[in-house]
Each structure stands twice: as structure tokens, then as C-alpha cells.
């Protein structure tokens, strides 16, 4: 059905479900009524990482760092400017998402789904729960009307909503419940991969905790793989096995959660961790917190050299002139910093 990818799919390891390789996405910036292109916003620039089957990969970074763009590239809501994104289908076949035809893409999308941040704007207010959650099945022509109805009832039960709510509209539900409707909808076609873009950021503390637990239960039950995008470092630490830290469209550091948070090797990771206000007043009083200076640079005028150097307390001449590569350290950590080996950075102490 889908032709095998030209680019040696064998290079992808068996336990890997998604492999993002040198992915780039540039958005043209147009000016004037002639729409002349005056430059490009490099939303995603030379990003490479793998997501293993069954794991939760967290992506963190400030707004404008390109986190959401990556999710959209993987699901091919955006087309790549360069690079490739390999996806292992549930039948074992490896495909390059970026070159698929529309028809094959439809097939693939049954296996990849997305959960959105705002449960108010991502659900059509004129559709009932049955229509909303059943829509993916209708689109893909799966099941008869009766089967869809039963499946939707099951899905609602699965996410902790009562199946009697089938004919209600989203306005009758709270933010946390709407998020669950979004989760049920994402699960409708039995995907193997779900990208959750700030899925709990808009929710209250106690409700966010319920939904995070639900997502973890579902992961266990169905062997799901998550790409979890958030700016909440506490949440990402809680749910992720491995984490990628993004800054200005680039990955600065990738590694296992525990190791990376205990001992970051990129100054930006250190700064992010230091900025999180902790629910610990005594600790806050003793912890030395030097807020990171300045703001994330304009994506149209990315600083020369290391994009983080204007805000980096450790930067020197080399950082201003030379762009660091994402390197694999002996520890297995990937870091984009000239001085990753020599800097002694502070993480968060395990409690």
C-alpha cells in the first residue's frame, strides 16, 4: 500500500517508533502588498531525536522555541522544509512521514493522534459527544452506526465519563472533562502514538493531576507512546522518561529525565530549572536564584554562534562566533554546548 521509504529504514532501531532527523521548518515572513519574502522564521532548525516505543518523551522550552511545531511536523500538519521524520507503523513498516502521499497519510494518521491545549476551542460546540468522539471513525469508515455508538460509549467509560453523556454538547462539561473528551477522541482509532500539546496546562491543579494519572493509565493499558509538550517543568519531570530542551528552534539537551534534572549539562537547562518556583518557602529562601537575563531572541534575528549566548552566564568569545553542534557525550547525553564537559551545573536535588 505505502511504498517503503527510500531512505534506508533499516537505520532505525527496532525499539524506536519515531525518528526525527535533521528536521527543519522555516516560515517565510512576507512584507508589503506584493508579499515579498523578507526573511524566514526558523521555527525548527536541524532537530534530531528518537522516541522509543512505549516511552513518554517530554519537550520543554519557552514559548516560541518551536515545541508545538515539532508535534505538527510529526503529524504532518506542517510540511517539512528539510530533513525527514520516520515513523514505525504498528505492522512494523517504517515510513517517512514527510514524503507520504495524501492517501497514505490518511492511513498513518489512524496511528498518530494529537491532544490539544485548549479544550474550549478544540471541540466543536455544535457536535455532541457521540459525533465528536465518533468522528475519527466516521472519517476513516470504521464500523457501522451501532458499532460506533458502542465504541464511543466504551471510550467515554475509559476516560472516566458516563456513557449516558453521549448526546450532550461540550458546553455542559468542565475544562477537565473536555480534556477527557479530547483524549477519548484521540483514542478512537487505537493509535500507537499521541502528541499531547500542553494538554494539562489550562487545568486546575487537582484536575490536572487526575488527567495526568489517566494518561499514564492509558499508556500502560494500550502501550501508547507519548510526545508530551509543556512549559511546566514539574509536570514534564513527573511524566517523561526522556526530555528534550528546546531553545529558538533547536534542541539544546536531550537525555533521561532523572539524570538530566539532577545534573544538567547545558546552561539553559540549568537556568530553566532554577527559574521554577518551588512549593517550598524555606527552600526558596535559601536557594540562590539568579533570574535569567533578557528574553528569548526574535526568531527572525537569531544571534550568531550559540543562539543562547546573549543570555548565558558562561558564554565567551567562542560561543559568540561558533555554532555548537548537538554532540553525544560519553554519558549518553546529547548537548549543544561548547563547554558541556567542563561546566559544573546545578540541577534539582532529589527529595
Amino acid at each position: 500500500m505505502t511504498q517503503p521509504s527510500k531512505n534506508a529504514p533499516a537505520a532505525m532501531q527496532d525499539d524506536t517508533i519515531i525518528s526525527v532527523r535533521s528536521a527543519r521548518k522555516y516560515f517565510p515572513v512576507q512584507e508589503g502588498w506584493l508579499r515579498t519574502i523578507k526573511g524566514y522564521v526558523k521555527a525548527v532548525d536541524d532537530i534530531t531525536f528518537d522516541i522509543k516505543k512505549g516511552e513518554t518523551f517530554g519537550l520543554v522550552g519557552e514559548s516560541g522555541s518551536g515545541k508545538s511545531s515539532i508535534a505538527r511536523l510529526i503529524l504532518r500538519a506542517y510540511d517539512l522544509t528539510g530533513g525527514e521524520i520516520l515513523f514505525r507503523r504498528s505492522n512494523g513498516e517504517v515510513v517517512d512521514v514527510s514524503t507520504l502521499s495524501d492517501r497514505s497519510l490518511r492511513e498513518i494518521r489512524r496511528e498518530m493522534q494529537m491532544i490539544f491545549q485548549d479544550p474550549y476551542s478544540s471541540l466543536n460546540p455544535r457536535m455532541t459527544l457521540l459525533e465528536l468522539v465518533g468522528e475519527p471513525m466516521v472519517i476513516h469508515g470504521v464500523g457501522s452506526e451501532g458499532e460506533i455508538r458502542d465504541r464511543v460509549a466504551d471510550l467515554l467509560r475509559l476516560v472516566g465519563l458516563r456513557p449516558e453523556y453521549l448526546n450532550r454538547y461540550p458546553h455542559a462539561f468542565s475544562g477537565g472533562q473536555r480534556q477527557r473528551i479530547g483524549i477519548a477522541r484521540a483514542l478512537a482509532l487505537n493509535p500507537s502514538f499521541i502528541a499531547a500539546d500542553e494538554a494539562v496546562s489550562a487545568l486546575d491543579v487537582s484536575v490536572a493531576a487526575q488527567n495526568i494519572n489517566l494518561m499514564q493509565d492509558l499508556q500502560e493499558q494500550f502501550g501508547l507512546t507519548y510526545l508530551f509538550i509543556t512549559h511546566d517543568l514539574g509536570m514534564v519531570e513527573h511524566i517523561s522518561d526522556r526530555i528534550g530542551v528546546m531553545y529558538l528552534g533547536r534542541l539544546m539537551e536531550v537525555g533521561p529525565t532523572d539524570e538530566m534534572f539532577a545534573k544538567p549539562q547545558h546552561p539553559y537547562t540549568e537556568a530553566l530549572l532554577a527559574a521554577v518556583p518551588q512549593p517550598d518557602p524555606r527552600g526558596n529562601r535559601t536557594r540562590k536564584r539568579v533570574p535569567l537575563k533578557g528574553e528569548i531572541a526574535d526568531a527572525m534575528n537569531i544571534p550568531t554562534g550559540c543562539p543562547f549566548h546573549p543570555r548565558c552566564p558562561y558564554a565567551d568569545v567562542k560561543c559568540r562566533g561558533e555554532v555548537p553542534e548537538l554532540r553525544m557525550l560519553p554519558s549518553g547525553r546529547q548537548v549543544r554546548c561548547h563547554y558541556a564537559e567542563t561546566l559544573d551545573l546545578v540541577g534539582v536535588a532529589a527529595a
Binding site: 484536575v207 487526575q210 519531570e237
Partner: protein, 351 residues
């Protein structure tokens, strides 16, 4: 329980800036009366930061807006008194002031400043930052246009805005989120208010920017000896900035105490449960989050007795679902609105 205003109320202690006693704010709706604020009491001393935490719908913002008399027109001020010590030293009963009165207009901006979550909707998009600040200054002070502009530049410098001489002539859409928040703080501080009401001022910001704004607010507070009512749903932020904390649930303050008491010796089961449901940095990931069962009830059907009892792990049948608890006062000054506050052992025995 409801006290009518008693003119023989003892005067506020001299260092007290603001005191709310049994404030009730109701909204008539098609579906019935919503008691958004149902008997709230708290106070703020001069130069202190009171953190107000609670989930959405707990009445945090409605209470704060009633201090400014910035309520929707259909709001009913059902009960209670709001007292504020003016710069002249006299006590003003804010709840007796009409929202359009000269006194309130004089108070707003001059003695009480307010900052909001989304600066883009709070600032005027068609006036420059400088004009907006200068107008506030000219409204309350007898100064010339040139002096007001100089004051605006001085204030922008004070909130650590880069290039204040340039920013003063910019429009809000020219600025980034963090800079807009700084501009709004400058505007709120234009006339050296004794009290600043900050309604989720950092919620929309990135952690690094949030850390900068919190640091700035702490500095300004010390410099100007200003008190802050800081509303947020983020326990980390409260732990960072507050001296005392009030926890709200369904229109009531359920617990108040110093920041250390709330975080290390919470007496109310709701506070305890909330604190356990937040993921903390440095704790091993993957562990299940403690959740609070159910969700915040809708405001039309507030449970009888203690409004938290249906979700409370420690609720005792026949007591909590029948009787509305009063504040239990502890020797340290900490208060918790729970029948069994501080007597967990007793509650377990009763079960």
C-alpha cells in the same frame, strides 16, 4: 453567621491596610443565585504580601475586584465590610462607596493599583505606553504634561524596562509578554499606591520571565513599602512571594496562615490534598500523583454542610455533610474552616 454591618466594629489596628469581614458577592443568573463569594474574611497589613490561592471558581478574583469596586453591574454585594486605610490614615468603608463615586475614582490607581493576567487586554491598544502612564499621573497629581512624561520614563526605568526613553513612545503590541507585564506594573505603580492587587500576573508568562517579574515585584514592594494581594493558582509562586496565604474554595477562605504554616503544617484537608497533587521538581518521576476525588461542584448546587465534604478524604458522616464548619483558630494565628482541623486523630476515631 451573616453579620450585618455593625458601626461599632472596633477600628483596625494601626498597621492594618485592608480588612475584609464576611464579604458576600452574589450574581443572579437564569439558573439561580450564584454565591460567588460567600462570607470571605481576610486582611492585609502594611508592606506585606498576602497570597490568595484556589482553583478556578473559588471566588479569588471576584473578591479582589470588589475591593476595587470593579464588579460586573449585576453583582449583588450581599454582606460584609471592606475597610481600607487611606494615605491620610483614615479608615474608609469601601463597601459603602458607589463604584462611580469620586472617592472610588480617587482610590483606584492612586492608593490601590491593580495588575491583571493578560496585559494585552488590560492596556489600551491605541495609546502609547507613555500616554497611558502619564494620564494616570495627571489624573491624580497636579503636574504638567512634560512632568508626567518624565515620571512615565522614570517608572519604566524602575520596572527595569530596557531603553525606557524609547519604550515610552511604543504601543503595547510592540512589546513582548514580559515587557507588557512590566509596562502594566509601571502603570499600576504610577502614583505610589499603598496596595497592589495582582490577579494572576505571571500565569501567562514563561518560567524564566515569571521569575524575573516575581523578583521585580519583591524588590518594588521593599522599595516602596507597598502591600500586595497576590492571586494565583500556582503554589510555587505563592511560596516564592507571599508572607501569608489564604486558601479559597467555593467562595470561602478555608485556611489562612503564614506561608510556612500553610506549606509545612496545613490544617485543612483541602490544603493538604492540593499540596499533594502538585508534581515537585526533584521527586522521582513516574510516581502517581495524589488527586482530589471529583471536581469543584457547580455554584448552583453547593453541597450542604462543609462545601468540601463530598471530596474530602476525612469527611465524617452526620457532621461534615450537615453542619457548616466555623473557623478553628490556632494559637499561632493560623485558621482553618474544618470541624476536625488539627484533630486528625479524633476524626479517624469518629470514622
Amino acid at each position: 453567621m451573616t453579620l450585618a454591618f455593625n458601626p461599632s466594629q472596633p477600628p483596625m489596628p494601626p498597621d492594618r491596610l485592608l480588612q475584609l469581614d464576611d464579604v458576600g458577592v452574589h450574581f443572579p443568573t437564569r439558573d439561580g443565585l450564584v454565591k460567588a463569594v460567600n462570607g470571605v474574611s481576610y486582611h492585609v497589613n502594611k508592606g506585606e504580601v498576602l497570597g490568595i490561592v484556589g482553583e478556578s471558581g473559588s471566588g479569588k478574583s471576584v473578591t479582589a475586584r470588589s475591593i476595587m469596586r470593579l464588579q460586573p453591574k449585576n453583582a449583588i454585594n450581599a454582606s460584609g465590610t471592606i475597610r481600607f486605610r487611606r494615605k491620610s490614615g483614615e479608615e474608609l468603608l469601601i463597601n459603602e462607596q458607589d463604584r462611580l463615586s469620586r472617592t472610588m475614582r480617587d482610590l483606584r490607581g492612586n492608593e490601590i493599583g491593580m495588575i491583571f493576567q493578560e496585559p494585552m487586554t488590560a492596556l489600551s491598544p491605541v495609546h502609547t505606553i507613555g500616554t497611558q502612564i502619564a494620564r494616570t499621573v495627571m489624573l491624580h497629581r497636579k503636574v504638567s504634561k512634560a512632568e508626567a512624561r518624565a515620571r512615565a520614563i522614570e517608572l519604566l526605568g524602575k520596572v527595569q524596562m530596557p531603553r525606557p526613553n524609547d519604550i515610552v513612545d511604543r504601543y503595547p503590541h510592540h512589546l513582548s509578554g514580559g515587557m507588557r507585564q512590566r509596562a502594566m506594573i509601571a502603570l499600576a505603580l504610577a502614583c505610589d499606591p499603598a496596595l497592589l492587587i495582582a490577579d494572576e500576573p505571571t500565569t501567562a508568562l514563561d518560567v524564566t520571565t515569571e521569575a524575573q517579574i516575581l523578583e521585580l515585584l519583591k524588590q518594588l514592594k521593599d522599595e516602596m513599602n507597598m502591600a500586595i494581594v497576590f492571586i494565583t493558582h500556582n503554589f510555587g509562586v505563592v511560596a516564592d512571594i507571599a508572607d501569608r496565604v489564604a486558601v479559597m474554595y467555593l467562595g470561602r477562605v478555608v485556611e489562612t496562615g503564614t506561608v510556612d504554616e500553610i506549606f509545612y503544617e496545613p490544617k485543612h484537608p483541602y490544603t493538604q490534598a492540593l499540596l499533594q497533587s502538585i508534581p515537585r521538581l526533584g521527586q522521582s518521576h513516574g510516581r502517581r500523583l495524589r488527586t482530589i476525588a471529583g471536581m469543584v461542584p457547580d455554584p448552583f448546587n453547593v453541597p450542604t454542610g462543609c462545601s468540601f465534604h463530598p471530596r474530602c478524604m476525612k469527611a465524617v458522616g452526620g457532621v461534615c455533610d450537615v453542619q457548616t464548619p466555623d473557623d478553628v483558630l490556632f494559637p499561632s494565628g493560623q485558621r482553618a474552616r474544618c470541624h476536625y482541623a488539627g484533630q486528625t486523630a479524633l476524626a479517624e476515631a469518629a470514622q
